[in-house]
């Protein structure tokens, strides 16, 4: 492997949508719960009460961050589990009412593959199309609703292209029709305001490691009165709704992280938007380059560009050799056969979708990082295009 680091030996990390580092301050709050206050929150002695109180206070922090009641927050093992629980939980508990689910074609696989599994169990699923910016149209939602629709699940913001969906509007439709509404807010939290009341949602998924919290912990907001089955059955933890000994340090870290992320939201978003503007401006100077996703209604930290004629893995490989970490929707990276289902749903042809590059900014990034990326990337694109039989002559210099 090539580890031709930049002068300082630092890595320029531009893949915050994949995961973030655990903030050192967050990590500090977790430390006492590994070796000292390690009691099982369910245990009936003082020592364990420290753990229980820590979990409760993290629950309060999460609730406050999304304007929910404390007892509407349930901790899970991550965003994937939250999505699986929300969707299967509603499906199995409301099967008598109906077996139709509506979702979008650009959801995260945690939603899509869950829906596909439910199809094997006899449920019917409508996958809504999106416009070229990756937005679901509310009319499409309305049209898809049937008498037996029990759940609508549409993500708050897309993980690849950053497009923000009209969640409050879809929520209003769902509420009128008395259909449960779930949103995957894994990418949204910490980037845009997330208020369960304003969003009109019944269920909302979160994942700690996307906002400088630890990996392996997430949460599901469940509006009071929502009927859903458990995903993991067992002990009486989480008011008997989510079994398993609580990951106390992880939960404490998630609480601290979400408090920090939401209290710094405006300042953070402003920082991200500034860097994003710099980034997009520089990238679009490169010819035959397109911005994927919505021009304005997108996450402040997300940039997704498509370079025609070339393939994403080779871009990443070269960036890596200059110590830049980024992501692509190309199938070649993931060993799957298909390029990003999101870019395809937005209408990009397969060969174009292969040339995508996702750059997702984080709080530690600077203007210098963006400059370094732009300086490094431009010649990479040129080199790869010079090699590609797809590149038109005049673009090959």
């Amino acid at each position: 492997m090539n580890t031709n680091k930049d002068d300082t030996g630092n890595i320029i990390y531009l893949d915050h949508a994949a995961t973030t580092f655990t903030d050192p301050k967050v990590l500090e709050t977790m430390m006492p719960y590994f070796t000292e206050n390690f009691g099982n929150p369910s245990s009936p002695y003082d020592m364990a009460n420290v753990s229980k109180e820590a979990v409760d206070s993290a629950r309060q922090q999460v609730a406050t961050a999304i304007n929910a009641d404390t007892d509407e927050i349930y901790f899970t093992g991550g965003g994937t589990e939250s999505d699986n629980w929300a969707i299967k939980g509603i499906a199995f508990a409301n099967r008598k009412k109906g077996n139709h689910i509506i979702t979008s074609s650009i959801e995260h696989h945690a939603v899509l593959h869950t829906c596909q599994w439910l199809e094997k169990q006899g449920f019917e699923v409508t996958y809504l199309p999106v416009d070229k910016y990756g937005q679901v149209r509310t009319e499409d939602v309305k049209k898809a609703i049937r008498d037996d629709t029990i759940l609508i699940s549409v993500m708050l913001a897309n993980n690849e292209i950053g497009t923000i969906q009209p969640i409050p509007q879809i929520g209003r439709i769902a509420r009128e029709k008395n259909i449960y509404f779930h949103t995957d807010a894994v990418q949204g939290i910490g980037q845009v305001p997330v208020d369960v009341e304003a969003l009109n949602v019944d269920l909302l998924s979160l994942s700690s490691h996307k906002f400088y919290g630890p990996k392996g912990v997430g949460a599901l907001y469940i509006k009071k009165g929502t009927r859903l089955d458990n995903h993991s059955h067992g002990g009486a933890q989480e008011k008997k709704k989510r079994a398993g000994t609580e990951n106390v340090p992880g939960i404490v870290g998630m609480g601290a992280a979400i408090e920090q992320a939401t209290s710094q939201l405006e300042e953070h978003a402003a920082h991200m938007k500034k860097l994003r503007a710099q980034l997009v401006e520089g990238l679009l100077l490169i010819p035959a380059t397109h911005l994927a996703g919505h021009p304005e209604k997108r996450l402040p930290n997300n940039v997704n560009v498509i370079f025609e004629y070339i393939e994403g893995e080779s871009i990443l490989l070269m960036l890596n050799s200059y110590s830049i970490a980024a992501s692509t929707g190309s199938a070649c990276t993931s060993a799957s056969l298909e390029p990003s289902h999101v870019l395809i749903a937005c209408g990009f042809p397969h060969e174009v979708a292969h040339g995508s590059l996702r750059l997702t900014l984080g709080k530690e990034n600077t203007e210098e990082d963006v400059d370094y990326l732009l300086q490094t990337l431009e010649p990479i694109i040129r080199r790869l295009r010079a090699m590609s039989p797809m590149t038109p002559k005049e673009q090959r210099e």
Binding site: A48, N49, K52
Partner: protein, 136 residues
């Protein structure tokens, strides 16, 4: 988790309960609860001129059950039978500075135990037993 929910007062009465023990030739005895559920409470009363001059208890049960027995027997000592009948489980719980919701039934045992003991006395005296109010 239950421990954290116990008040100082509950712990005080649990660790050093008042009025523990059997009573020789009591004037009234009431036993309530069910060992299968993990609780039995027996209340003994000494009664002179319709006034409870002494009360004792024996309890098989959790911390809240023991603390409730201790507090309830404290509360009824010196009271007339009529006054003692009005000592509700809520009064016992309040005197204990609150009980966790899942433990309220332990204080109900105390109320029922007192009622049973009073009725035991009434019946021995040839009176009709008093009726339980059904709002506990």
């Amino acid at each position: 988790m239950i421990l954290m929910m116990y008040s100082e007062k509950v712990m005080e009465h649990f660790m050093n309960p008042h009025n523990v023990g059997e009573m020789e030739n009591p004037d009234g005895v009431g036993e309530v609860g069910n060992p299968q559920c993990g609780d039995i409470m027996r209340i003994y009363l000494r009664i002179e001129n319709d006034v409870i001059t002494d009360a004792k208890f024996m309890t098989f049960g959790c911390g809240a059950a023991i603390a409730s027995s201790s507090m309830a027997t404290d509360l009824i000592k010196g009271k007339t039978l009529e006054e003692a009948w009005e000592v509700t489980n809520k009064a016992v719980a309040e005197a204990l500075e609150g009980l966790p919701p899942v433990k309220m039934h332990c204080s109900v045992l105390a109320e029922e135990g007192i009622h049973k003991a009073i009725n035991d006395y009434r019946e021995k005296q040839g009176f009709e037993p008093l009726k339980e109010k059904t709002d506990a």
